[in-house]
Symmetry: C2
Subunit: 364 residues, 2 copies
């Protein structure tokens, strides 16, 4: 299923078109980790490729059939996003079915494999399952969903109970993004197979708060997220799955907007979540917030309850300053925490690595 | 979550671009069921929209900001696919996150709502859950997945057992397409809420057979699919879920390539599947096949075992002739069956309706 087969009846004009003309292969990943991008655009004057595959937009050149191409790299083994720009038009790669989708847009993606598997490669190890549950949220007033990973060992009919890791997405994502693009299921499969992480359930709630008119009021959005998680999602999870409901067996971690939500919800509810983390977090959701300051006012009590407070961000991330400030404030307050400033920017190349690094530390 | 919110950090150049310029809304569905499509392409000479939204490609016109637009309709309430053509370039709509994805390409999609909900609308009724399981197939030799719908009533910890409906996708799809684009989960939710269908489990296996070199040998592909379903998927389903394992409580139905597979697998295994159907089926997978002729050689026995043989296809479908032939052959043989030639062509507008029409007939 990872190989892309010839489809005889796929209903799309893009495909009908491709069937009439020689099929384009794009991206083509070479054995030396270079990658060739191609686009059929016979009438274009300029085609560029941009994204994580190139430090700056790279021009393609046109052949006599009207197909533009460029070869980049060699690139480090990783999963990269990219887009094309055709004269004034931004577009994803019509020849490539592998996409990063989101609530507002989408872009193309490519995997560069190395000699050894990455943390997020689908290896031949026992695989957990991924579940999606829709619910009508009384808190938010809409139809929402949450996604759940159960480990390979999980058996709904046995009495073994598992710790639960609440894992939150960013502001362009939905509850499926951590699996579909973050490859959280494969990361967990691999860590569990290698005995690096405890078998655990991962719950990925939907973090967008409606109505949009309220988006400007950070505190209120955080509180609505917190309320939806605690009163709608958490009880459903604990009814549907065999989970350990003690605080020591609950973690909450998110990325970007979800990092702000996980720090807010976790630090304000340490009696429920003993493990708290933020990846490239939107710290304006917590910096200077009165409820956070009150919740952390007694550092001795906080340090006793919190098993881990783990914060990480890339050097090139525009949210670095806010994370520096939050980490400095935690230090001033005497709150035990880990603060890592790593290579990288505000994207999934960093977040997959953070998940692979943090998960082994949980529930120890 | 059905409304698309403003995303502040979505990592895509297409979006960064949109943030610098006034944001385009496309598609914009009006209250009178007309729909406006828009695309920013300041340097293009010609932009067309094609697909199910228009009988023939419709030209867009450019405004002074370089944004092209056209308003079509009013359209019947439905879920439609469409693509743009910009000079020589085929592209989906970069402003619209709702996509039909597949193993080889993708296109844009739009929902036109009517005054009353369609069979596939997400209504405020109890929702079932959707599960995805990866497995290493010994039969095919690759990592594959199957998707499972459990009805709202389903409780893994109770002893109630449910009938199972095996529902197969087409040649451009994967195991997620019946849910993501076919909206099988919402169709089942609605039918069950309205007491029109029995609560049932729906299993959506992955139907692509590798290696591609073998694609030309129809019989062998069918047999490999049959073997993977019967020896890899079915035992896993019956281990993981509370299912009734009698033939009278098993159905198999598919669309297009999957219709060929469901007719092949179902009719060759009536001792396992008493309910068999094909939507817009690729009948070259069964017409004149020796094993099918043998399996159906005793019409009395077949008519006793098969509770339903349901075949449907649209008038405008290029596979009509093969379906006519197969239905005529069944008639000659004295095999009881339902053959419906309906409005429509080879696309999801037809398949969602067939699912809503067939499912109430199962397991009666």
């Amino acid at each position: 299923m990872l190989s892309k087969l010839v489809a005889s009846c796929f209903i799309s004009l893009a495909i009908a078109q491709a069937q009439q003309q020689p099929r384009i292969v794009s991206p083509e990943v070479h054995s030396d980790r270079r990658v060739t991008f191609r686009l059929r655009a016979p009438n274009a004057k300029e085609v560029m490729v941009s994204g994580q595959v190139t430090p700056k937009p790279a021009p393609l050149t046109k052949d006599e059939q009207g197909v533009w191409s460029v070869t980049l790299g060699p690139l480090e083994p990783d999963l990269y996003g990219y887009t094309f720009r055709v004269d004034g038009l931004s577009t994803s790669d019509p020849s490539n079915p592998f996409l990063q989708t989101g609530i507002r847009g989408y872009s193309s993606a490519v995997i560069i494999k190395g000699d050894t598997p990455t943390a997020w490669d689908a290896r031949s190890v026992p695989h957990g399952a991924v579940h999606r549950h829709h619910y009508d949220s009384k808190v938010v007033g809409d139809l929402r969903a949450f996604t759940v990973y159960t480990p390979p060992q999980y058996d709904a009919m046995s009495n073994t109970r598992y710790p639960v890791f609440y894992l939150l997405h960013g502001s362009g994502d939905d509850d499926t993004t951590w699996v579909d693009f973050g490859r959280a299921n494969f990361i967990l499969d691999n860590l569990i197979a290698d005995s690096k992480a405890k078998p655990m359930i991962v719950v990925m709630p939907y973090g967008q708060m409606v109505p949009p008119a309220d988006q400007s009021r950070t505190g209120r959005i955080n509180e609505r997220f917190e309320q939806d998680l605690l009163t709608e999602v958490l009880p459903r999870v604990e009814k549907l799955y065999k989970v350990d409901t003690s605080a020591d067996k609950r973690a909450i971690v998110g990325l970007s907007m979800g990092g702000g939500q996980s720090l807010w919800t976790g630090l304000n509810n340490l009696d429920r979540f003993a493990w708290v983390g933020g990846f490239s977090s939107s710290t304006r959701q917590v910096n200077g917030e009165e409820r956070i300051e009150k919740a952390l006012a007694d550092p001795k009590a906080v340090n006793k309850r919190a098993k881990l407070l783990w914060i990480a961000i890339g050097k090139e991330d525009t949210l670095l300053k806010g994370n520096d400030e939050f980490a400095a404030w935690l230090k001033t307050q005497g709150i035990t925490h880990t603060y890592q400033v790593t290579e990288g920017a505000h994207n999934w190349r960093v977040w997959r690595r953070y998940l692979a690094e943090l998960t082994p530390q949980l529930f120890r």
